[in-house]
Symmetry: C2
């Protein structure tokens, strides 16, 4: 009998795999996050990205506070079966908790990291009590 | 005095950070790999991607055997300073050791991982003795 697709992922010793999230329409790499088996299962079932938050040690339904959910277009696995690529559409156009479109906003230039992407919406505004 | 840019990266307990490598011309995510401080330093200095091979536990000058080097166009760091994004041009058009353009060739479809990208050149041909 064929192995379950979730077991074909080579989860690390702590049960995680790194996940690259890329915006399908623009090709922009939005963020790098982590999933465990449950997170990947829920992502596939619900059609929206669910990660494992290492800092909070719990499942993290992306956008649960901000509303900036990520609708899944494709799920891919790499040659070593230990890294995942999500192709998504980013709701609200903001993936980063700093209020930027994506998380990779620090560019190395002459041995200095420089923030080169604008804040679209302030975090205070995004995460205000509702 | 300002911190050295290499020390601004939040290296993990084992001294590594995950690295996403994206082809600048196509936007294709080519691979996910790992760097330590030395690898990132050498990448910046030489202008070509150098990773840390976790399986071989040594620095890995990408393309050292295959010739498929990755010329650096941009180096970026994310909001948490613990993930790196490289924008590169992929020499030879092949990033994956399986002989495919990129590593994320397994697509999930109806709970089955399917290889959906062609092998451009056989690994035997790529890694033959020279």
């Amino acid at each position: 009998m064929k192995e379950h697709w979730l077991d074909e992922v080579c989860w690390s010793a702590d049960g995680l795999a790194p996940v690259i999230t890329q915006e399908q329409s623009s090709g922009q790499v939005l963020m790098l996050a982590w999933m465990n088996r449950d997170a990947l299962s829920m992502t596939s079932e619900t059609g929206y990205a669910v990660y494992w938050s290492r800092s909070r040690q719990r499942l993290w339904r992306k956008g649960e506070q901000s509303g900036h959910r990520q609708q899944i277009k494709e799920i891919r696995l790499d040659c070593d079966q230990d890294a995942i690529l999500l192709l998504v559409e980013q709701q609200g156009g903001i993936a980063c908790h700093t209020g930027r479109h994506h998380c990779f906003f620090n560019r190395l230039r002459s041995q200095v990291w420089q923030a080169v992407e604008p804040v679209i919406k302030s975090p205070d505004e995004i995460y205000k009590e509702k």
